[in-house]
């Protein structure tokens, strides 16, 4: 919480404290003003202060991670767009000051200048013209820039590479990022980080959650590890300036930190270990893989943002790449699904190359209920929904499915979901069509699987990347998954 925002609350509370102290002191007889009274009031004040300064669950925030600094800032909404105060973003990186002169707002960062005009969607940054995706906002002499323009502005001023995770509102400056690996062995799951981390740990039935508020933890994939005796699923997610690592346990779990805080061991909680030992003394437990085959896995949706990394996908216009559009759309859809309480894993959440077969293998290993391959096109308009071009009659009986035709067994479920998706698009007045098509990797998926190709809503190809349009499509798709969930569950 920046001081600018905290200051009014703090001043109010300091005034309140002074008032309370004076009142309490007045009620005490002279010479009986104990220091305990002051300490008590101070403690109460501090509690209020902390409560007031803590961000509420709904408050949007941006996290910025630099080589030396990590911090979070509040995000404001103006006309449906997210904004952030530019001065506060730059303060930790160098000498910065800003002045407002009428409608003009100037900022000096080290030796570079930034200039914007109130309500203008263009300005100058370091001597170069910059177009903003939404008008500049000047509020109480504080300059607010659209969040989507921030990576460009910061990159230009710092002269370094920035990476922005838009849906999660996380900005990585100068290659900042803490990577991690997971390794299962000797009855524990070890998560090793490339730098010290300080997550907050919470547990709930069947789940251990690590929330990284200040650590620039990143992962190229959302599904990290699954199917071992300790945990059924390890998932990474990021949202509202935070990253989260969730471990779906088969028993109550406990997190143990190493001294350098670079390694976290996830082990069975002591009671759980004893119970497991007692059970093994009386009966040989079935192999965990068999358990996992017979138990119905949780309802998880995999979102596969098409292409990525070296694979650009289609060029939707001279500058807009399909891989960029699909990732932005996947993040929007993830938010929508999570708002409906649906677990989501992403085949990729960064600009990385993930082979098509690996995407399918990831979905099958996680035993997802629904797979959505997301694509974008500049051809035609509306949304096309594709199912695999297979014959459902070719589905073999039994548990094991051939890789090339794994989808055949789930084809009816996929087609039913396709119908539901189209019906929801109809309700949202989004033109759509459904067809079977030879799209990779649909044939390899052992789940209800669709490929969704979104086309531009107008003759302008770039409109496929418009936030309002994508949000409509994401809302309709998420609602379709909610409606179709029971149907999909019934056929698993």
């Amino acid at each position: 919480m920046p001081w600018n925002k905290l200051k009014p609350r703090f001043q109010f509370l300091v005034s309140g404290f002074s008032f309370l102290e004076r009142s309490a002191a007045a009620k005490l007889p002279p010479g009986n003003k104990k220091p305990e009274t002051r300490n008590f009031l101070l403690a109460i004040t501090l509690i209020f202060l902390l409560m007031a300064s803590a961000p509420s669950a709904e408050e949007k925030q941006l996290s910025v991670y630099g080589p030396q600094v990590n911090y979070s800032l509040p995000v404001w909404e103006h006309n449906g767009q997210d904004y952030v105060a530019l001065l506060e973003v730059l303060e930790p990186f160098g000498n910065v000051n800003a002045t407002a002169d009428g409608d003009r707002w100037k900022l000096r960062f080290n030796s570079l200048e930034v200039e914007f005009r109130k309500d203008a969607a263009a300005g100058k940054v370091a001597g170069q013209k910059l177009t903003l995706p939404a008008p500049f906002v000047l509020e109480d002499n504080r300059g607010l820039v659209p969040l989507r323009a921030l990576p460009g502005i910061v990159g230009r001023l710092l002269g370094t590479k920035t990476e922005y995770h838009e849906a999660a509102r996380r900005l990585f400056v100068g290659g900042a990022g803490t990577h991690f690996t997971t390794d299962f062995g000797q009855g524990k799951l070890t998560v090793s980080f490339s730098a010290a981390v300080n997550p907050s740990i919470s547990t709930e039935p069947g789940r251990l959650r690590m929330t990284f508020n200040r650590d620039p933890v990143v992962s190229a994939t959302y599904l990290l590890r699954q199917e071992n005796p300790l945990a059924s699923l390890v998932m990474f997610s990021e949202d509202n300036g935070q990253a989260e690592l969730v471990i779906e346990g088969r028993m109550p779990l406990l997190a143990q930190f190493s001294a350098d805080r670079k390694t976290i061991d996830i082990v069975a909680a002591p009671g759980a270990a004893q119970t497991a030992a007692a059970q093994s003394a009386v009966a040989v437990p079935p192999p965990p893989t068999l358990q996992s085959l017979t138990a119905k896995p949780p309802f998880v949706v995999m979102l596969d943002a098409g292409h990525g990394g070296d694979d650009l996908g289609a060029m939707l216009n001279e500058t807009l790449e399909e891989k960029t559009v699909t990732l932005v759309f996947a993040r929007r859809l993830r938010n929508e699904l999570q708002n409906h309480g649906i677990n989501v894993i992403m085949a990729r959440d960064a600009d990385v190359t993930v082979p098509l077969e690996q995407r399918a293998a990831m979905a099958d290993a996680a035993r997802v209920a629904v797979y959505l391959g997301l694509h974008a096109t500049s051809q035609g308009s509306g949304v096309r929904v594709y199912t695999a071009m297979l014959n459902s009659a070719s589905a073999p009986p039994g548990t094991f499915l051939p890789w090339d035709t794994a989808q055949a067994k789930y084809l009816l479920s996929s087609r039913a979901l396709s119908d539901i998706v189209r019906a929801e698009f109809g309700k949202h007045e989004i033109p759509s069509a459904a067809v079977a098509a030879p799209v990779l990797p649909l044939n390899h998926l052992a789940a209800a699987a669709l490929a969704v190709e979104i086309g531009p809503p107008s003759s302008e190809a770039a409109s496929v990347n418009a936030g309002v349009f994508q949000q409509r499509v994401a809302t309709a798709l998420a609602e379709a998954i909610v409606v179709g969930r029971s149907r999909v569950e019934a056929e698993r």
């Binding site: 098409g306 292409h307 694979d311 996908g313 289609a314 060029m315 399909e322 098509l356 694509h375 096109t377 500049s378 051809q379 035609g380 096309r384 594709y386 071009m389 297979l390 014959n391 090339d404 069509a433 459904a434 067809v435 079977a436 098509a437 030879p438 799209v439 990779l440 044939n443 490929a451 190709e453």
Partner: protein, 195 residues
């Protein structure tokens, strides 16, 4: 406004108009050149024999359908060569400008092999895939057009595999599967859905 200023303004205006006209002329030239894309595909050996009736299943991006078009062309008697010539003629329609389903110049079929009475393998040129537009729908139309045209004109062929420059390729242009064999029945269903 004095006389000198009037003359200067008039000259500048005239210069602007002349340059505008010249730019318009250059744009027209450029358009004409873009429409006359040279066909860089290798020239086929002349075909002898009487013309026979063949059916092309031509893809139309707009409105996104395949339409049957019959034509009388000279094709060899050998089924594999016959398949190659028919696909060569089909792709010739796509490399022309304007085309209902544009493909890059150089998109062609090098050979068609009949590995058994039911299975045909099409070997396309590298340009066919490298320059193909990327997108699920456009790639699907291409594959469906090739497979349906081949199976419609080579009786008995029910499975088709597409290679690119003699090698297996994962996708046509990022979406359509080129690893598997295409079954004539499922392609028929797809065309039915498109209609």
């Amino acid at each position: 406004m004095n006389r000198a200023l009037s003359i200067t303004t008039a000259l500048l205006l005239a210069a602007v108009l002349c340059m505008g006209a010249y730019l318009y002329y250059l744009r027209g030239n450029e358009r004409a050149r873009a429409q006359n894309v040279p066909d860089t595909r290798p020239i086929s050996a002349p075909i002898s024999g009487p013309p026979s009736r063949v059916t092309f299943w031509v893809a139309y991006d707009n409105p996104g359908v395949l339409r049957a078009q019959e034509a009388n062309i000279a094709v060899p008697d050998d089924p594999a060569q016959r398949g190659r010539e028919i696909l060569h003629a089909l792709l010739g329609e796509y490399v022309k400008r304007p085309s209902p389903h544009e493909m890059p110049s150089g998109a062609d079929v090098k050979d068609v092999y009949l590995v058994d009475p039911n299975t045909a393998v099409v070997d396309a040129t590298a340009d066919f895939a490298d320059g193909h537009r990327s997108g699920i729908f456009v790639e699907t139309l291409t594959v469906a057009s090739l497979v349906k045209t081949l199976t419609a004109n080579l009786p008995g062929v029910t499975r088709v595999k597409i290679l690119v420059d003699g090698k297996e390729r994962e996708t046509l242009a990022g979406h359509a599967d080129l690893e598997d064999f295409y079954d004539a029945g499922t392609v028929e269903q797809l065309i039915g859905q498109l209609q």
